[in-house]
């Protein structure tokens, strides 16, 4: 019986191997940000339907993993919501002997979301309240820092449970980039980065893990990419922007945040705390990280073709998943940049 099992297994493996060689499919692997994971997961699924021989396997492991693995060369492309730093770019150049290119894909919002039994209203958060909560200085839900912006809501006196990311995260970067711009205490304390020495709270892995933990934990607050809050029917707090207005996250308010964006040639730009009355303050672009030189012609073809597809067909799918499509000027600039991939 064991022999039969073994021979069946060997036959199956031979069959698989032959499938692999006869049809010449392209398999690409990417890893990184969880912030755009619902978007990418949709895109790669749709792209595969349109190109049956091409499989792009995207693993959402956090932006830190995206930068690490693309630098190591263990994945074909990385993804991050934090542009690579100058040191990281230099390290990439040393390791891969070629520069790294940033391609913005969509724009999204990081929202404060909470699991507060008995409170259904959408709360309003001032930047000071958010910084205070995540610094551990605002400890109770009915603290004046929160209550003063929400006079109509009856807040419980329970302790606030902070939930943050346990992994290296672009979502953390966007959130702490915002806090660093608006709160001197935060800037002097934890600072901005993808992996933070958090003063308080519980760690969850990925945006998925953070929201999973939030749902299991009463009286908790977390920050997450908007789509995760929407898909899980969680409340999203309004955040006060630079113009003093409380704004709800939406594709429109994210687009408004990008209205005055000055796009540099390397596409590395921050749009947190943007000016404009309608701008949602914790907005960000998210990037694919692609080596400029790709030896394998087949893979190079897939990547350039996918980038073109993503900038045209792909953009149309963004609003349904609560992401904002890129401004037309950025799309044009990126199309020109695709030609740099050799």
């Amino acid at each position: 019986m064991t022999k039969r099992f073994l021979s069946a297994a060997v036959a199956a493996s031979l069959f698989l191997a032959s499938c692999g060689s006869s049809e010449q499919p392209q398999n690409l692997t990417g890893a990184g940000a969880t912030f755009p994971y619902p978007m990418y997961s949709k895109w790669f699924s749709e792209y595969q339907k349109a190109h049956p021989l091409v499989q792009i396997n995207y693993q959402s492991q956090g932006s830190g993993a995206g930068i690490r693995q693309v630098t190591e060369g263990t994945v074909d492309f990385g993804a991050s919501d934090q542009p690579m730093t100058d040191e990281q770019i230099a390290a990439f150049q040393t390791a891969r002997k070629t520069p790294v290119l940033h391609f913005p894909t969509v724009m999204g919002a990081v929202v404060p979301t909470y699991n507060l039994p008995g409170v259904t209203a959408d709360l309003k958060f001032t930047p000071a309240a958010l910084a205070g909560i995540f610094l551990g200085k605002v400890k109770k839900w009915n603290d004046p820092a929160i209550a003063s912006a929400n006079p109509d809501v009856k807040l419980p006196g329970d302790d606030i449970v902070v939930v943050h990311r346990s992994d290296g995260s672009g979502t953390s970067f966007v959130f702490t980039d915002f806090l660093t711009k608006v709160s001197p205490d935060w800037a002097a304390g934890p600072g901005k980065g993808s992996a933070i020495n958090w003063p308080v709270g519980l760690g969850g892995k990925g945006n998925e893990g953070v929201v999973g933990l939030l749902k299991q934990t009463p009286n908790s607050i977390a920050y997450t990419e908007m789509i995760y809050a929407v898909q899980n029917k969680l409340p999203m707090g309004d955040v006060q922007n630079a113009a003093g207005k409380f704004v709800k996250a939406s594709p429109e308010s994210v687009t408004a945040a990008a209205a005055n964006m000055q796009m540099p040639d390397d596409f590395r730009v921050s749009i947190t705390n943007a000016a404009g009355e309608a701008a949602y303050p914790i907005s960000s672009l998210t990037w694919l990280l692609v080596p400029q030189t790709i030896q394998d012609a087949g893979k190079r073809q897939v990547i350039t073709d996918f980038l073109t597809w993503m900038l045209t067909t792909g953009q149309g799918m963004a609003p349904a998943l609560q992401y904002a499509a890129l401004p037309a000027a950025v799309v044009e600039k990126e199309k020109a940049a695709i030609a740099q991939i050799k």
């Binding site: 994971y37 699924s45 693993q59 190591e72 263990t74 789509i227």
Partner: protein
Amino acid sequence: MTLSFRRRAVNAVMLTLTGVCTFLVAGVLLVILGYLAWNGATSLSLDFFTKLPVPVGETGGGMANAILGSAKVLLLAMLIGVPIGFFAGVYLAEFGDSAYSGVIRYATDLLNGVPSIVIGIFAYALVVQPMKHFSTLAGGVALGIMMIPISLRTTEEFLRAVPVSLREGAMALGASRSRTIFTVVIPAAKNGILSGLMLNLARVAGETAPLLFTALGNPFWSSGWLQPTATLPSMIYNYAIAPYDDWHRQAWAAGFVLLVLVLTVNVAARFAIGRGSARGRS
């Protein structure tokens, strides 16, 4: 009299407590199996076995690719771990009375004690970094290394359980040492060794930690052996910590399928060993 009463009371209380402990543990077992069976069975559907995962947040889909992925990783693990463990076990049982075999035994014990996550780090450095690719192969190597120690131990144990009279008989008929081992001793221990292999497979089938940074994951069918692949245990992990109810449902289904496989193999192998060793001893 009072002393004797106290002693009898202590006796009764303590003996009862030991019974309580036993039924507490048995109760936990029943709750675990029951809860998992209930949640798993109600979550299972045909789609689970036939479909691919759907994009994040959409409902439906299945884990067909993860089931095949697990099978492929396990097949590789078996091809790597079992021959090494088996032949080394033969060495220890049949040639193993030197100081060197003491060293091998010690190394095997060390390897057996290495936490699975550390094996993951090792396989990453051994396969993923040099090959510049996460792959089914890397996952197979990680689990294969984990299979070696147990494979060695079961082989050695069952070979040593073969009665000396069998060996002597074969040698008396003029067979060489190696011939005796490969045509008489090993066939006599075959049942035990195969059952041990099944138990060993069942043990690594549920391993998740060493696959996180070797096999990685894959929402599609993984072709060949050099592509990343989804596996059942890592899908359970990813789906369980995610916030989607439909993923939770599928995590239960996957947990149920995995548990049924693992327990079935365990029960079957234990019965086989029970029969085999009873016959060997008599």
